[in-house]
């Protein structure tokens, strides 16, 4: 794990694995952090593209704001040179999972997540509508892996990092997800 989001990770990056470093860091940790506004501008489209397909249009705004609020909370403790792109996708992925759990816990007529027009992102043509329904029908982890791979063009190490899984699991989730989509849509 590269991103910092808890005290232990902060301590490890300060002290290194195996105990405190002999000397304190020369610069404070946040010395070179850009304004958070710049961070949002840099990552907002990527995060929104992920969430739009991962959780649907109805919940995308809320998940998007939750993602960046969590990032803002941890932001001053970040090191310069962190893999910020992976870090923010990892937070977004967690928020998407939380959202699926909330939806699954709410009383719905079927166990499957219902697909309504409010969930659908804007798209052109009937093919995209079918495709959207097929993607929406995938189990959340397969859906996230497929979105990271084929909507955001991420590498398997990136996907593994964002989803907190092994690279093998990332590959398997993408493979299974795409296979199901191919079965549903010729």
């Amino acid at each position: 794990m590269i991103a910092l989001d808890d005290d232990m990770a902060a301590r490890i990056s300060r002290e290194g694995i195996g105990g405190p470093a002999p000397e304190p860091p020369v610069e404070p940790v946040r010395a070179s952090l850009p304004p958070f506004q710049d961070f949002v501008e840099l990552h907002r489209v990527t995060v929104y593209r992920f969430l739009l397909v991962a959780v649907g249009a109805r919940d995308a705004d809320d998940c998007f704001q939750e993602t960046f609020l969590s990032a803002l909370r941890a932001y001053p403790r970040l090191h310069d040179g962190e893999h910020l792109d992976r870090w923010i996708l990892r937070i977004a992925s967690r928020k998407a999972i939380d959202q699926h759990r909330r939806r699954a816990a709410s009383p719905e007529p079927t166990a499957e997540l219902p697909v309504t027009s409010a969930d659908e992102p804007p798209h052109d043509g009937p093919l995209d509508g079918l495709l959207w329904k097929a993607v929406r029908g995938l189990p959340p982890r397969q859906r996230h892996a497929v979105v990271l791979r084929h909507v955001l063009d991420r590498s398997y190490p990136d996907i593994a990092e964002a989803m907190g899984s092994s690279e093998e699991a990332a590959r398997a989730n993408v493979y299974q997800g795409v296979k199901k989509l191919r079965e549903l849509i010729a």
Binding site: R30, A31, S32, L33, P34, P35, F36, Q37, D38, V40, R44, V45, V47, Y48, R49, F50, L52, V53, A57, A60, D61, F64, Q65, F68, L69, L72, R73, Y75, P76, P121, P122, H123, D124, L127, D128, L131, W132, A134, V135, V146, V147, R149, H150, V151, V178, L181, R182, L184, I185, A186
Partner: protein, 187 residues
């Protein structure tokens, strides 16, 4: 199905994310996570950027200042938790608009003085006691801060950039502001 078809599902994310980001600052404020809100206001001396903290106005920048540099300095010196917010900066933007409409002669909102240090702080404390519409020479200000021979130092402190124009915003803005206050006729 082709994998590239999937990419179309995220169409529109640019505009949608911009709209969602607009609402971010308000939620950050509600969660007490925002340290600096940045907004802008149009004025006769150009577009002004205001940076407001929970303590008050911390920075006012002119349009020819390097905006990215101003924000980077705030991030370095105060906090990197900075977001644009029209709502959080609204009261300061309104006071500035009223000032430039000559409907206001003094500012009532608090100022966050953490970015003002040393001599500059003394000089600004002395100049803010000069009444609206009145002027004082650098020599007079130097007297008031107890350094009677430091007129040039006062000029530099007000210039902030080290020049002798005596005002961080440049001599033309200084003239416009004096004109607004009725202290300079015939420009």
């Amino acid at each position: 199905m082709n994998e590239t078809d999937l990419r179309r599902l995220s169409a529109g994310a640019d505009e949608l994310s911009a709209a969602a980001a607009e609402g971010l600052a308000d939620r950050a404020i509600a969660s007490r996570l925002l340290d600096i809100a940045v907004g802008s206001v149009d004025s006769p001396i150009g577009r002004l950027t205001v940076a407001v903290t929970p303590r008050g106005l911390a920075r006012l920048a002119f349009e020819d200042e390097d905006f990215e540099g101003v924000l980077a300095e705030l991030a370095r010196v105060l906090s990197p938790r900075i977001l644009r917010s029209m709502s959080a900066t609204q009261s300061w933007r309104r006071e500035l608009e009223e000032f430039f409409d000559a409907k206001r002669t003094r500012f009532d909102l608090p100022v966050d003085r953490r970015l003002i240090h040393g001599l500059q702080r003394d000089v600004l404390n002395a100049t803010r006691r000069v009444p609206y519409g009145r002027v004082a020479t650098y020599g007079e200000i130097a007297q008031r801060i107890g350094r009677p021979r430091a007129a040039r130092v006062v000029g530099r402190a007000l210039g902030a950039n080290g020049s002798l124009t005596g005002y961080g915003g440049g001599i033309e803005r200084k003239a416009r502001l004096l004109e607004l206050e009725g202290s300079l006729i015939g420009l």
